[in-house]
Protein backbone atom coordinates (compact mmCIF):
# COMPACT_ATOMS: atom_id res chain seq x y z
CA UNK A 1 0.00 0.00 0.00
CA UNK A 2 2.75 2.33 0.99
CA UNK A 3 4.68 1.59 -2.16
CA UNK A 4 1.60 2.24 -4.29
CA UNK A 5 1.15 5.70 -2.80
CA UNK A 6 4.79 6.62 -3.38
CA UNK A 7 4.42 5.38 -6.90
CA UNK A 8 1.43 7.57 -7.65
CA UNK A 9 3.19 10.52 -6.04
CA UNK A 10 6.08 9.85 -8.32
CA UNK A 11 3.71 9.76 -11.28
CA UNK A 12 2.34 13.19 -10.32
CA UNK A 13 5.87 14.50 -10.12
CA UNK A 14 6.43 13.29 -13.62
CA UNK A 15 3.36 14.98 -15.00
CA UNK A 16 4.20 18.25 -13.33
CA UNK A 17 7.70 18.18 -14.65
CA UNK A 18 6.54 17.79 -18.22
CA UNK A 19 4.03 20.61 -18.06
CA UNK A 20 5.80 23.51 -16.40
CA UNK A 21 3.45 26.43 -16.25
CA UNK A 22 3.70 28.92 -19.05
CA UNK A 23 4.84 31.93 -17.08
CA UNK A 24 7.85 30.33 -15.44
CA UNK A 25 8.55 28.64 -18.74
CA UNK A 26 8.75 31.80 -20.83
CA UNK A 27 10.51 33.62 -18.01
CA UNK A 28 13.12 30.93 -17.73
CA UNK A 29 13.31 30.85 -21.53
CA UNK A 30 14.75 34.34 -21.62
CA UNK A 31 16.86 33.68 -18.57
CA UNK A 32 18.28 30.60 -20.28
CA UNK A 33 19.12 32.57 -23.41
CA UNK A 34 20.78 35.28 -21.35
CA UNK A 35 22.71 32.65 -19.42
CA UNK A 36 23.90 31.00 -22.63
CA UNK A 37 24.92 34.40 -23.97
CA UNK A 38 27.03 35.15 -20.90
CA UNK A 39 28.33 31.61 -20.72
CA UNK A 40 29.58 31.62 -24.32
CA UNK A 41 31.22 35.01 -23.75
CA UNK A 42 33.01 33.56 -20.74
CA UNK A 43 34.12 30.57 -22.80
CA UNK A 44 35.55 32.86 -25.48
CA UNK A 45 37.34 35.07 -22.98
CA UNK A 46 39.05 32.03 -21.47
CA UNK A 47 41.29 32.03 -24.50
CA UNK A 48 41.32 35.71 -25.45
CA UNK A 49 44.28 35.45 -27.79
CA UNK A 50 42.76 33.01 -30.27
CA UNK A 51 39.40 34.74 -29.98
CA UNK A 52 41.06 38.06 -30.79
CA UNK A 53 42.86 36.57 -33.80
CA UNK A 54 39.63 35.31 -35.32
CA UNK A 55 37.80 38.53 -34.49
CA UNK A 56 40.58 40.59 -36.08
CA UNK A 57 40.39 38.60 -39.32
CA UNK A 58 36.66 39.25 -39.34
CA UNK A 59 37.28 42.87 -38.43
CA UNK A 60 39.64 43.48 -41.33
CA UNK A 61 37.27 41.77 -43.75
CA UNK A 62 34.45 44.01 -42.52
CA UNK A 63 36.55 47.17 -42.38
CA UNK A 64 37.64 47.08 -46.02
CA UNK A 65 34.24 47.42 -47.72
CA UNK A 66 32.89 49.63 -44.95
CA UNK A 67 35.83 52.01 -45.26
CA UNK A 68 35.47 52.15 -49.03
CA UNK A 69 31.76 52.73 -48.60
CA UNK A 70 32.46 55.69 -46.32
CA UNK A 71 34.93 57.24 -48.76
CA UNK A 72 32.55 56.71 -51.62
CA UNK A 73 29.68 58.23 -49.68
CA UNK A 74 31.65 61.37 -48.94
CA UNK A 75 32.79 61.58 -52.56
CA UNK A 76 29.15 61.37 -53.52
CA UNK A 77 28.25 64.15 -51.10
CA UNK A 78 31.02 66.26 -52.48
CA UNK A 79 30.04 65.71 -56.08
CA UNK A 80 26.41 66.27 -55.16
CA UNK A 81 27.35 69.62 -53.78
CA UNK A 82 29.13 70.47 -57.00
CA UNK A 83 26.33 69.07 -59.09
CA UNK A 84 23.71 71.15 -57.29
CA UNK A 85 25.67 74.02 -58.63
CA UNK A 86 26.06 73.25 -62.30
CA UNK A 87 27.82 76.34 -63.35
CA UNK A 88 28.72 78.36 -66.41
CA UNK A 89 32.07 80.07 -66.53
CA UNK A 90 32.29 83.24 -68.62
CA UNK A 91 35.86 83.95 -69.63
CA UNK A 92 35.97 87.61 -70.59
CA UNK A 93 37.89 89.12 -73.46
CA UNK A 94 41.47 90.21 -72.85
CA UNK A 95 40.90 93.97 -73.14
CA UNK A 96 38.00 94.10 -70.66
CA UNK A 97 38.94 95.98 -67.52
CA UNK A 98 37.72 95.26 -64.04
CA UNK A 99 35.11 97.98 -63.98
CA UNK A 100 33.50 96.74 -67.19
CA UNK A 101 33.59 93.24 -65.87
CA UNK A 102 31.86 94.31 -62.64
CA UNK A 103 29.17 96.05 -64.68
CA UNK A 104 28.63 92.90 -66.70
CA UNK A 105 28.29 90.91 -63.50
CA UNK A 106 25.76 93.45 -62.30
CA UNK A 107 23.74 93.08 -65.48
CA UNK A 108 23.84 89.31 -65.23
CA UNK A 109 22.47 89.46 -61.72
CA UNK A 110 19.34 91.11 -63.12
CA UNK A 111 18.59 88.23 -65.47
CA UNK A 112 15.83 85.90 -64.26
CA UNK A 113 17.64 82.81 -65.56
CA UNK A 114 20.63 83.53 -63.40
CA UNK A 115 20.72 82.58 -59.76
CA UNK A 116 24.11 83.30 -58.30
CA UNK A 117 26.92 85.31 -59.81
CA UNK A 118 30.50 85.21 -58.64
CA UNK A 119 33.11 87.54 -60.05
CA UNK A 120 36.72 86.40 -60.03
CA UNK A 121 39.11 89.14 -61.04
CA UNK A 122 42.23 88.09 -62.86
CA UNK A 123 44.32 89.13 -59.84
CA UNK A 124 42.32 86.87 -57.55
CA UNK A 125 42.48 84.07 -60.08
CA UNK A 126 46.24 84.43 -60.26
CA UNK A 127 46.54 84.32 -56.49
CA UNK A 128 44.47 81.19 -56.26
CA UNK A 129 46.35 79.64 -59.12
CA UNK A 130 49.67 80.28 -57.43
CA UNK A 131 48.46 78.82 -54.15
CA UNK A 132 47.00 75.66 -55.51
CA UNK A 133 48.87 74.51 -58.51
CA UNK A 134 52.46 75.03 -57.50
CA UNK A 135 53.14 77.13 -60.56
CA UNK A 136 54.65 79.86 -58.43
CA UNK A 137 58.04 79.80 -60.17
CA UNK A 138 56.57 79.65 -63.67
CA UNK A 139 54.22 82.53 -62.87
CA UNK A 140 57.05 84.67 -61.65
CA UNK A 141 58.68 84.36 -65.07
CA UNK A 142 55.68 85.96 -66.77
CA UNK A 143 55.61 89.72 -67.14
CA UNK A 144 51.90 90.13 -67.03
CA UNK A 145 48.93 88.17 -65.75
CA UNK A 146 47.85 85.80 -68.53
CA UNK A 147 44.52 85.05 -66.91
CA UNK A 148 41.25 86.69 -67.96
CA UNK A 149 38.55 87.98 -65.63
CA UNK A 150 35.99 85.29 -65.01
CA UNK A 151 32.34 85.49 -64.07
CA UNK A 152 30.91 82.27 -62.67
CA UNK A 153 27.16 81.87 -63.00
CA UNK A 154 24.88 79.44 -61.28
CA UNK A 155 21.59 79.18 -63.10
CA UNK A 156 18.50 79.74 -60.98
CA UNK A 157 16.74 76.57 -59.90
CA UNK A 158 13.97 76.94 -62.51
CA UNK A 159 16.42 77.04 -65.38
CA UNK A 160 18.59 73.98 -64.81
CA UNK A 161 16.98 71.81 -67.51
CA UNK A 162 19.11 70.66 -70.42
CA UNK A 163 17.35 72.91 -72.97
CA UNK A 164 17.21 75.95 -70.77
CA UNK A 165 20.89 75.57 -70.09
CA UNK A 166 21.76 75.44 -73.76
CA UNK A 167 19.62 78.52 -74.44
CA UNK A 168 21.22 80.42 -71.60
CA UNK A 169 24.65 79.35 -72.79
CA UNK A 170 23.99 80.70 -76.30
CA UNK A 171 22.62 83.94 -74.89
CA UNK A 172 25.66 84.45 -72.69
CA UNK A 173 28.02 83.57 -75.52
CA UNK A 174 26.52 86.42 -77.54
CA UNK A 175 27.09 89.10 -74.92
CA UNK A 176 29.70 91.80 -75.26
CA UNK A 177 32.94 91.33 -73.36
CA UNK A 178 32.37 87.56 -73.27
CA UNK A 179 35.08 85.55 -74.94
CA UNK A 180 34.00 82.01 -74.07
CA UNK A 181 30.98 80.71 -72.16
CA UNK A 182 31.63 77.25 -70.87
CA UNK A 183 29.25 74.82 -69.24
CA UNK A 184 31.14 72.90 -66.55
CA UNK A 185 29.21 69.69 -66.76
CA UNK A 186 31.17 67.11 -68.66
CA UNK A 187 33.58 66.34 -65.88
CA UNK A 188 30.74 65.79 -63.43
CA UNK A 189 29.20 63.25 -65.77
CA UNK A 190 32.57 61.58 -66.02
CA UNK A 191 32.96 61.63 -62.24
CA UNK A 192 29.56 59.99 -61.85
CA UNK A 193 30.47 57.25 -64.28
CA UNK A 194 33.69 56.57 -62.43
CA UNK A 195 31.89 56.53 -59.11
CA UNK A 196 29.28 54.12 -60.43
CA UNK A 197 32.11 51.90 -61.47
CA UNK A 198 33.80 52.12 -58.08
CA UNK A 199 30.49 51.60 -56.30
CA UNK A 200 29.94 48.35 -58.14
CA UNK A 201 33.50 47.34 -57.32
CA UNK A 202 32.86 47.97 -53.64
CA UNK A 203 29.75 45.80 -53.78
CA UNK A 204 31.63 42.94 -55.38
CA UNK A 205 34.42 43.28 -52.83
CA UNK A 206 31.89 43.44 -49.99
CA UNK A 207 30.17 40.29 -51.22
CA UNK A 208 33.44 38.38 -51.43
CA UNK A 209 34.58 39.54 -48.03
CA UNK A 210 31.18 38.71 -46.52
CA UNK A 211 31.68 35.20 -47.85
CA UNK A 212 35.13 35.19 -46.26
CA UNK A 213 33.64 36.20 -42.89
CA UNK A 214 31.03 33.46 -43.25
CA UNK A 215 33.75 30.88 -43.86
CA UNK A 216 36.01 32.14 -41.07
CA UNK A 217 33.18 31.97 -38.55
CA UNK A 218 31.96 28.67 -39.96
CA UNK A 219 35.39 27.10 -39.67
CA UNK A 220 35.94 28.41 -36.16
CA UNK A 221 32.59 27.03 -35.06
CA UNK A 222 33.32 23.73 -36.77
CA UNK A 223 36.49 23.42 -34.69
CA UNK A 224 34.57 24.37 -31.56
CA UNK A 225 32.03 21.65 -32.32
CA UNK A 226 34.78 19.08 -32.79
CA UNK A 227 36.42 20.13 -29.54
CA UNK A 228 33.16 19.63 -27.68
CA UNK A 229 32.15 16.44 -29.38
CA UNK A 230 32.04 14.47 -26.13
CA UNK A 231 29.88 17.08 -24.49
CA UNK A 232 27.46 17.07 -27.42
CA UNK A 233 27.17 13.29 -27.23
CA UNK A 234 26.43 13.41 -23.51
CA UNK A 235 23.85 16.14 -23.90
CA UNK A 236 22.13 14.18 -26.67
CA UNK A 237 22.15 11.07 -24.47
CA UNK A 238 20.31 12.79 -21.68
CA UNK A 239 17.69 14.37 -23.86
CA UNK A 240 19.12 17.66 -25.11
CA UNK A 241 17.27 18.89 -28.19
CA UNK A 242 19.11 20.06 -31.30
CA UNK A 243 18.07 23.62 -30.46
CA UNK A 244 19.61 23.33 -27.01
CA UNK A 245 22.88 22.04 -28.45
CA UNK A 246 22.88 24.59 -31.25
CA UNK A 247 22.32 27.58 -29.00
CA UNK A 248 25.79 28.07 -27.47
CA UNK A 249 27.42 27.75 -30.89
CA UNK A 250 25.08 30.30 -32.40
CA UNK A 251 25.84 32.69 -29.59
CA UNK A 252 29.55 32.08 -30.10
CA UNK A 253 29.05 33.10 -33.74
CA UNK A 254 27.15 36.14 -32.51
CA UNK A 255 30.07 37.18 -30.31
CA UNK A 256 32.59 36.68 -33.10
CA UNK A 257 30.48 38.88 -35.38
CA UNK A 258 30.07 41.53 -32.70
CA UNK A 259 33.77 41.63 -31.82
CA UNK A 260 34.71 41.58 -35.51
CA UNK A 261 32.44 44.59 -36.11
CA UNK A 262 33.91 46.33 -33.06
CA UNK A 263 37.43 45.83 -34.39
CA UNK A 264 36.34 47.03 -37.85
CA UNK A 265 34.79 50.10 -36.19
CA UNK A 266 38.07 50.91 -34.44
CA UNK A 267 40.11 50.27 -37.60
CA UNK A 268 37.95 52.52 -39.76
CA UNK A 269 37.89 55.34 -37.24
CA UNK A 270 41.67 55.12 -36.89
CA UNK A 271 42.03 55.25 -40.67
CA UNK A 272 39.66 58.22 -40.90
CA UNK A 273 41.61 59.98 -38.17
CA UNK A 274 44.82 59.48 -40.15
CA UNK A 275 43.13 60.61 -43.39
CA UNK A 276 41.44 63.56 -41.75
CA UNK A 277 44.07 66.12 -42.70
CA UNK A 278 44.30 65.49 -46.45
CA UNK A 279 40.54 65.09 -46.70
CA UNK A 280 39.98 68.42 -45.02
CA UNK A 281 42.37 70.06 -47.45
CA UNK A 282 40.63 68.40 -50.38
CA UNK A 283 37.25 69.55 -49.12
CA UNK A 284 38.51 73.09 -48.81
CA UNK A 285 39.64 73.00 -52.43
CA UNK A 286 36.09 72.26 -53.44
CA UNK A 287 34.76 74.95 -51.09
CA UNK A 288 33.02 72.20 -49.20
CA UNK A 289 32.75 71.62 -45.49
CA UNK A 290 32.34 67.90 -45.71
CA UNK A 291 34.21 66.30 -42.85
CA UNK A 292 35.10 62.68 -42.28
CA UNK A 293 36.14 62.61 -38.67
CA UNK A 294 34.34 59.39 -37.71
CA UNK A 295 31.81 56.82 -38.85
CA UNK A 296 28.26 58.16 -38.87
CA UNK A 297 25.59 56.43 -36.80
CA UNK A 298 23.82 54.85 -39.76
CA UNK A 299 26.93 53.24 -41.19
CA UNK A 300 28.04 52.09 -37.75
CA UNK A 301 24.68 50.46 -37.19
CA UNK A 302 24.87 48.77 -40.56
CA UNK A 303 28.40 47.57 -39.80
CA UNK A 304 27.37 46.00 -36.51
CA UNK A 305 24.22 44.49 -37.98
CA UNK A 306 26.21 42.94 -40.83
CA UNK A 307 28.90 41.64 -38.48
CA UNK A 308 26.40 39.99 -36.16
CA UNK A 309 24.31 38.59 -38.99
CA UNK A 310 27.35 37.12 -40.72
CA UNK A 311 28.55 35.66 -37.42
CA UNK A 312 25.19 34.03 -36.79
CA UNK A 313 24.87 32.81 -40.38
CA UNK A 314 28.38 31.35 -40.38
CA UNK A 315 27.80 29.44 -37.18
CA UNK A 316 24.36 28.36 -38.38
CA UNK A 317 25.95 26.82 -41.47
CA UNK A 318 28.62 25.02 -39.44
CA UNK A 319 26.15 23.80 -36.84
CA UNK A 320 23.71 22.59 -39.47
CA UNK A 321 26.42 20.66 -41.26
CA UNK A 322 28.29 19.13 -38.35
CA UNK A 323 25.86 18.68 -35.48
CA UNK A 324 23.85 15.97 -37.20
CA UNK A 325 27.00 13.92 -37.71
CA UNK A 326 27.52 13.64 -33.98
CA UNK A 327 25.22 10.98 -32.62
CA UNK A 328 25.73 8.87 -29.54
CA UNK A 329 26.63 5.26 -30.32
Amino acid sequence: MKSASTQSKHGQDLKRQHQPNLITRSGSYFVRHAQTLIYTLGQLLRDPFSMLMTATVIGIALALPTGLHVLLKSAELLSGEIDGATQISLFLKKGVNEKQAQQLAGRLRQMPEVGKVRFISKQDALKEFKQNAGFTEAMKALDENPLPHVVVIHPSIKHTGEQAMQKLLAQLQGMVHVDVAQLDEEWIKRLYTIMDFIKRGVWILATMLALAVLLVVGNTIRLAIQNRRDEIVIVKLIGGTDAFIRRPFLYTGFWYGLFGALIAFVLINTALFLLNDPIERLARLYHSDILLSSLDAQTSLLLFACGILLGLAGSWLAVGRHLRDIEPR
Partner: protein
Amino acid sequence: MIHFSNTTKRYASGQDALLNISFDIEQGEMAFITGHSGAGKSTLLKLIALLERPSRGQVIVNGQNLARVKRRQIPYFRRNIGIIFQDHQLLFDRTVFDNVALPLIIAGHPHREISRRVRPALEKVGLLKKEKHYPITLSGGEQQRVGIARAVVHKPPLLLADEPTGNLDSALSWDIMQIFSDFSQVGVTVLVASHDLELISRMQRRQLILKNGQLQQDNPAQS
Protein backbone atom coordinates in the same frame (compact mmCIF):
# COMPACT_ATOMS: atom_id res chain seq x y z
CA MET B 1 7.17 -0.68 -18.57
CA ILE B 2 9.38 -2.37 -21.16
CA HIS B 3 7.96 -4.72 -23.75
CA PHE B 4 9.99 -6.49 -26.44
CA SER B 5 8.22 -8.72 -28.97
CA ASN B 6 10.18 -10.68 -31.55
CA THR B 7 12.73 -7.93 -31.71
CA THR B 8 15.71 -8.38 -33.98
CA LYS B 9 18.61 -6.00 -34.46
CA ARG B 10 20.83 -6.66 -37.43
CA TYR B 11 23.75 -4.30 -37.97
CA ALA B 12 24.81 -3.13 -41.39
CA SER B 13 27.65 -5.64 -41.25
CA GLY B 14 25.02 -8.40 -41.42
CA GLN B 15 25.63 -9.59 -37.89
CA ASP B 16 22.55 -10.24 -35.74
CA ALA B 17 23.15 -8.49 -32.43
CA LEU B 18 19.72 -9.52 -31.15
CA LEU B 19 17.48 -12.23 -32.56
CA ASN B 20 13.79 -12.61 -31.83
CA ILE B 21 13.87 -11.25 -28.31
CA SER B 22 10.60 -11.13 -26.37
CA PHE B 23 10.13 -10.19 -22.72
CA ASP B 24 8.27 -7.84 -20.41
CA ILE B 25 9.50 -5.83 -17.46
CA GLU B 26 6.96 -4.39 -15.05
CA GLN B 27 7.07 -0.95 -13.54
CA GLY B 28 9.20 -0.88 -10.39
CA GLU B 29 10.91 -4.11 -11.30
CA MET B 30 14.67 -4.41 -11.11
CA ALA B 31 16.27 -6.78 -13.58
CA PHE B 32 19.72 -7.73 -14.82
CA ILE B 33 20.78 -8.50 -18.35
CA THR B 34 23.77 -10.77 -18.43
CA GLY B 35 25.77 -12.72 -20.94
CA HIS B 36 29.23 -12.91 -22.40
CA SER B 37 30.59 -9.83 -24.09
CA GLY B 38 29.05 -9.41 -27.51
CA ALA B 39 25.91 -11.27 -26.48
CA GLY B 40 23.83 -8.21 -27.16
CA LYS B 41 23.48 -6.58 -23.72
CA SER B 42 24.45 -3.10 -24.88
CA THR B 43 22.39 -3.37 -28.04
CA LEU B 44 19.33 -4.20 -25.97
CA LEU B 45 19.81 -1.07 -23.84
CA LYS B 46 20.44 1.01 -26.95
CA LEU B 47 17.13 -0.10 -28.42
CA ILE B 48 15.33 1.00 -25.27
CA ALA B 49 17.06 4.41 -25.25
CA LEU B 50 16.49 4.83 -29.01
CA LEU B 51 20.20 4.96 -29.69
CA GLU B 52 19.46 2.25 -32.22
CA ARG B 53 16.30 1.20 -34.02
CA PRO B 54 15.27 -2.47 -34.26
CA SER B 55 15.45 -4.16 -37.66
CA ARG B 56 12.32 -6.18 -36.89
CA GLY B 57 9.83 -6.53 -34.09
CA GLN B 58 8.50 -4.13 -31.54
CA VAL B 59 9.81 -2.22 -28.56
CA ILE B 60 7.33 -0.48 -26.27
CA VAL B 61 8.63 1.65 -23.42
CA ASN B 62 6.34 3.32 -20.89
CA GLY B 63 3.38 2.64 -23.18
CA GLN B 64 5.08 4.28 -26.14
CA ASN B 65 5.75 2.32 -29.32
CA LEU B 66 9.28 3.40 -30.19
CA ALA B 67 8.75 2.87 -33.90
CA ARG B 68 6.43 5.88 -33.77
CA VAL B 69 8.89 8.19 -32.04
CA LYS B 70 10.25 10.52 -34.68
CA ARG B 71 13.83 11.72 -34.66
CA ARG B 72 12.72 15.15 -33.50
CA GLN B 73 10.92 13.63 -30.50
CA ILE B 74 13.82 11.48 -29.33
CA PRO B 75 15.24 14.09 -26.91
CA TYR B 76 11.89 14.38 -25.15
CA PHE B 77 11.57 10.61 -25.01
CA ARG B 78 15.06 10.26 -23.48
CA ARG B 79 14.14 12.66 -20.68
CA ASN B 80 12.01 9.84 -19.26
CA ILE B 81 15.05 7.61 -18.95
CA GLY B 82 18.06 7.89 -16.70
CA ILE B 83 21.10 6.32 -18.32
CA ILE B 84 24.22 5.27 -16.43
CA PHE B 85 27.39 4.40 -18.33
CA GLN B 86 30.40 2.33 -17.50
CA ASP B 87 32.69 5.25 -18.35
CA HIS B 88 30.48 7.74 -16.48
CA GLN B 89 30.29 10.23 -19.38
CA LEU B 90 30.77 13.25 -17.15
CA LEU B 91 31.71 16.74 -18.30
CA PHE B 92 35.14 17.39 -16.87
CA ASP B 93 35.07 21.14 -17.24
CA ARG B 94 32.09 21.46 -14.89
CA THR B 95 31.61 20.87 -11.21
CA VAL B 96 29.80 17.89 -9.76
CA PHE B 97 26.79 20.11 -9.11
CA ASP B 98 26.68 21.35 -12.71
CA ASN B 99 27.04 17.83 -14.06
CA VAL B 100 24.10 16.62 -12.02
CA ALA B 101 22.07 19.71 -12.91
CA LEU B 102 22.48 19.12 -16.66
CA PRO B 103 19.26 17.11 -17.26
CA LEU B 104 17.27 19.82 -15.44
CA ILE B 105 18.93 22.60 -17.41
CA ILE B 106 18.20 20.75 -20.62
CA ALA B 107 14.55 20.36 -19.66
CA GLY B 108 14.43 24.09 -18.91
CA HIS B 109 13.75 24.09 -15.20
CA PRO B 110 14.04 27.41 -13.39
CA HIS B 111 17.14 28.11 -11.39
CA ARG B 112 15.61 27.75 -7.91
CA GLU B 113 14.15 24.39 -8.72
CA ILE B 114 17.48 23.12 -9.98
CA SER B 115 19.33 23.47 -6.68
CA ARG B 116 16.26 22.19 -4.85
CA ARG B 117 16.53 18.96 -6.86
CA VAL B 118 20.27 18.53 -7.32
CA ARG B 119 21.09 18.54 -3.58
CA PRO B 120 18.77 15.61 -2.68
CA ALA B 121 20.14 13.63 -5.64
CA LEU B 122 23.70 14.23 -4.47
CA GLU B 123 22.73 13.40 -0.91
CA LYS B 124 21.23 10.14 -2.07
CA VAL B 125 24.59 9.05 -3.51
CA GLY B 126 26.54 10.53 -0.59
CA LEU B 127 28.33 13.27 -2.48
CA LEU B 128 26.69 16.41 -1.14
CA LYS B 129 29.99 17.59 0.33
CA LYS B 130 31.71 17.36 -3.05
CA GLU B 131 29.23 19.37 -5.08
CA LYS B 132 31.83 22.03 -5.90
CA HIS B 133 34.54 19.56 -6.87
CA TYR B 134 35.48 18.78 -10.44
CA PRO B 135 34.95 15.15 -11.52
CA ILE B 136 38.66 14.68 -12.25
CA THR B 137 39.43 15.01 -8.52
CA LEU B 138 37.03 12.20 -7.60
CA SER B 139 37.67 8.48 -7.38
CA GLY B 140 36.16 6.05 -9.91
CA GLY B 141 33.42 5.04 -7.50
CA GLU B 142 32.57 8.66 -6.75
CA GLN B 143 32.47 9.53 -10.44
CA GLN B 144 30.06 6.66 -11.01
CA ARG B 145 27.85 7.98 -8.23
CA VAL B 146 27.85 11.41 -9.83
CA GLY B 147 26.66 9.64 -12.99
CA ILE B 148 23.88 8.00 -10.99
CA ALA B 149 22.85 11.29 -9.38
CA ARG B 150 22.66 12.84 -12.84
CA ALA B 151 20.58 9.92 -14.12
CA VAL B 152 17.98 10.22 -11.34
CA VAL B 153 17.90 13.96 -10.66
CA HIS B 154 14.91 14.50 -12.95
CA LYS B 155 13.14 11.47 -11.46
CA PRO B 156 12.76 9.35 -14.57
CA PRO B 157 10.46 6.32 -14.28
CA LEU B 158 13.11 4.14 -15.95
CA LEU B 159 16.76 3.70 -15.14
CA LEU B 160 19.18 1.97 -17.53
CA ALA B 161 22.71 1.07 -16.50
CA ASP B 162 25.34 -0.35 -18.83
CA GLU B 163 28.09 -2.14 -16.85
CA PRO B 164 27.80 0.40 -14.02
CA THR B 165 30.27 -1.46 -11.83
CA GLY B 166 32.72 -2.44 -14.54
CA ASN B 167 35.66 -0.60 -13.03
CA LEU B 168 34.80 -0.84 -9.35
CA ASP B 169 35.81 -3.25 -6.61
CA SER B 170 33.17 -5.52 -5.10
CA ALA B 171 32.43 -3.37 -2.04
CA LEU B 172 31.82 -0.26 -4.12
CA SER B 173 29.82 -2.29 -6.61
CA TRP B 174 27.60 -3.55 -3.84
CA ASP B 175 26.96 0.03 -2.65
CA ILE B 176 25.93 1.06 -6.14
CA MET B 177 23.57 -1.90 -6.43
CA GLN B 178 21.99 -0.92 -3.12
CA ILE B 179 21.32 2.53 -4.52
CA PHE B 180 19.61 0.96 -7.54
CA SER B 181 17.56 -1.28 -5.23
CA ASP B 182 16.40 1.78 -3.32
CA PHE B 183 15.16 3.39 -6.50
CA SER B 184 13.23 0.30 -7.52
CA GLN B 185 11.65 0.38 -4.04
CA VAL B 186 10.03 3.73 -4.88
CA GLY B 187 8.66 2.59 -8.23
CA VAL B 188 11.52 3.24 -10.62
CA THR B 189 12.09 0.46 -13.13
CA VAL B 190 15.78 -0.46 -13.15
CA LEU B 191 17.49 -2.44 -15.89
CA VAL B 192 21.17 -3.23 -15.40
CA ALA B 193 23.45 -4.82 -18.00
CA SER B 194 26.38 -6.53 -16.33
CA HIS B 195 28.63 -9.54 -16.60
CA ASP B 196 29.53 -9.52 -12.91
CA LEU B 197 27.74 -12.83 -12.24
CA GLU B 198 28.81 -13.07 -8.61
CA LEU B 199 27.32 -9.68 -7.81
CA ILE B 200 24.14 -10.41 -9.74
CA SER B 201 23.51 -13.69 -7.96
CA ARG B 202 23.88 -11.93 -4.59
CA MET B 203 21.21 -9.46 -5.64
CA GLN B 204 18.64 -12.23 -6.16
CA ARG B 205 16.76 -10.27 -8.78
CA ARG B 206 15.37 -11.26 -12.14
CA GLN B 207 18.02 -12.20 -14.72
CA LEU B 208 17.72 -12.10 -18.49
CA ILE B 209 20.58 -14.16 -19.86
CA LEU B 210 21.60 -13.47 -23.44
CA LYS B 211 23.70 -15.73 -25.61
CA ASN B 212 24.69 -14.86 -29.16
CA GLY B 213 21.88 -12.36 -29.42
CA GLN B 214 19.18 -14.72 -28.20
CA LEU B 215 17.37 -14.80 -24.89
CA GLN B 216 18.70 -18.02 -23.41
CA GLN B 217 17.15 -17.86 -19.95
CA ASP B 218 14.75 -15.64 -18.00
CA ASN B 219 15.30 -16.33 -14.30
CA PRO B 220 12.73 -14.72 -11.98
CA ALA B 221 13.63 -12.91 -8.81
CA GLN B 222 14.35 -15.21 -5.89
CA SER B 223 12.77 -13.34 -3.05
